[in-house]
């Protein structure tokens, strides 16, 4: 695989994009999981699918080349803003925003996929990721998104922490409302970036599984973010290697490695508990 990495551009772009996504997805995922918004990633990824179909459809209608990732990003950001608006409209049933936007995304995806000739060839790659689908433009877009995400978290870390930990206190302190909107837009960007590698159906897994695993072994929030990224990177590297040698979609292999990590952390914690109980009994 190293030889292929050095020889083929598309492998290089895929691996480098995978490594980037392995950092940013768990990083923003830490805030999503903590705020119990895990399903937002699913909703937005389905909206992104609609955006991609829209891009392909536009390309076929106007005979111009439009990168579907760009329309995917635009749709995802619009979907993110829609979720935020609906969370305000249904203030006592905030979770309703997610199924509404998710079903809208799926419906749009189906309609536009049916209208857009030619997307069927790439559909599998969009749904489950592909090691050969990342082009030069995609790679640069993913790199730009990564810079935005890292700057956003670095600069607004303390505000994001307060919003995630205690929204009521953040409201008393009058934390700026735009941070919440910017946060959800950043989530949309990460989903669009991750989609090429892990696919639409599994993008939320890369944002939540490493965090769920890290939660079992960390006690502070900074530790959680750091360990989530480590787990994310392990999953991406092993998943991409398995995908290359087995010639299968990387989405599945990456998520399966993430699940194995999760299983290991769950078993480790259970063993610790059992050992603790045995120690207690022996005293």
């Amino acid at each position: 695989m190293i030889e292929a990495f050095l020889t083929f551009d598309f492998i290089r772009y895929s691996v480098l994009s995978g490594l980037i996504v392995g950092i940013i997805a768990p990083l923003i995922g830490a805030f999503i999981v903590i705020r119990r918004l895990s399903l937002i990633a699913d909703a937005l990824s389905h909206v992104t699918l609609g955006g991609i179909a829209f891009g392909v459809w536009l390309s076929s209608i106007f005979a111009v080349t439009i990168n579907p990732l760009v329309t995917g990003i635009v749709f995802s950001v619009i979907g993110a803003l829609g979720i935020e608006r609906l969370r305000t409209v249904y203030s006592n049933y905030k979770e309703l925003a997610i199924p509404i936007i998710m079903s809208a995304g799926i419906a749009m995806g189906i309609v536009l996929l049916s209208m857009a000739d030619g997307i069927n060839n790439n559909l599998f790659a969009y749904l489950f990721g592909s090691i050969s689908a990342v082009g030069k433009t995609d790679f640069y877009l993913i790199a730009i998104i990564a810079v935005i995400v890292c700057l956003f978290i670095f600069i607004l870390y303390k505000e994001l922490f307060l919003l995630s930990f205690d929204e009521e206190y953040a409201n008393v302190m009058k934390a700026p409302k735009w941070i919440q909107i910017a946060f959800i837009i950043v989530v949309a960007l990460v989903i669009s970036a991750s989609m090429r590698i892990v696919g639409i159906l599994l993008v939320s897994a890369l944002m939540t599984l490493p965090v769920a695993s890290a939660m079992r072994v960390t006690s502070s929030f900074k530790q959680l973010m750091f360990v989530s990224v480590i787990f994310g990177e392990i999953a991406v590297i092993l998943g991409l290697v398995a995908s290359y040698y087995l010639s299968i979609s990387p989405g599945g292999t990456i998520v399966l490695v993430s699940l194995l990590i999760l299983l290991a952390t769950v078993l480790k914690k259970s063993n610790h508990k059992q050992r603790g109980e045995l120690d207690d009994q022996s005293v």
């Binding site: 870390y157 303390k158 922490f161 008393v172 700026p176 929030f221």
Partner: protein
């Protein structure tokens, strides 16, 4: 003449999203001066927490107005001067992987301002309140691993870390053992000496009698608002009328407790 910190004028509030749209508050008028320690008492569901939430801007004002430092609450900007401890601190995400130290530091977020990270002075401020609340040994512990009382002390520390000039406390000592309750009120007494304005919602009439300068009794309406001395002149029949059921004062040591 002492400076007015909070002024509540003709305030009424109805929870419109509840099936029975009975008013939670009706025609409330209150004033709290600088350095004053006001205790708000009343039975469960009497509107005490609603009043606190309206003052803090967590609920939108429907009728009436609230002035903070002479400004309408919506235009008041110095929220970093306000420390707040909510009822049972149940608003935070349970199971959150954060240490006590991280939680207490988060109280400085507003004061610090955007785009600035915490520095040595902030860490010193954190250590000061951890010591004050006797939780320094818990600094690196996960917040979810603490008992209810310990958690509540962490939230009190978070409210005090900014050295606020106004403290709003909604039943802050729920779940805290007697020794730490006493220590908490000692801290409040010290803050009061430093001219901190304190607004305390409580069920503990003993604390009211012992510590507060003035008392407001609320049960939808404002039934009493006056000095602690005047409050102590009320007899049990009058208090029972406010609470809506018979009240007896049971004295032990220097406190008098309220029970039905």
């Amino acid at each position: 003449m002492s400076e007015t910190i909070f002024e509540v004028r003709d305030l009424s509030y109805v929870y419109t999203d509840r099936p029975e749209k009975t008013p939670a508050l009706k025609d409330i008028n209150l004033k709290i001066n600088k350095g004053d320690f006001l205790a708000i008492v009343g039975p469960n569901g009497s509107g005490k927490t609603t009043l606190v939430k309206l003052i803090l801007g967590l609920l939108s004002i429907q009728t009436g107005e609230i002035l903070i430092n002479g400004k309408r609450s919506r235009k008041f900007n110095n929220w970093d001067e306000v420390g707040y401890v909510s009822q049972k601190s149940n608003s935070f995400q349970k199971g959150f992987p954060a240490t006590v130290s991280e939680v207490v530091l988060s109280g400085l977020t507003k004061k610090k301002g955007l785009f600035k990270s915490f520095n040595k002075q902030d860490l010193a401020a954190r250590d000061r309140v951890l010591e004050l609340l006797d939780i320094k040994d818990l600094a690196d512990k996960n917040i979810s691993a603490l008992s209810g009382g310990q958690t509540q002390r962490v939230f009190i520390a978070r409210a005090l870390v900014t050295k606020p000039s106004i403290l709003v406390l909604d039943e802050p000592t729920v779940g805290i053992d007697a020794r730490h309750v006493r220590e908490f009120y000692d801290v409040l007494s010290r803050l009061k000496n430093e001219e901190v304005t304190i607004l305390l919602v409580t069920h503990d009439i003993g604390v009211v009698v012992d510590k507060a300068d003035s008392v407001a009794c609320i049960n939808e309406h404002l039934h009493f608002h006056g000095s602690n001395h005047d409050f102590q002149q009320l007899d049990e029949a009058e208090i029972s009328k406010i609470y809506g059921f018979p009240i007896q004062f049971v004295s032990h040591d220097h406190d008098r407790e309220c029970c039905s």
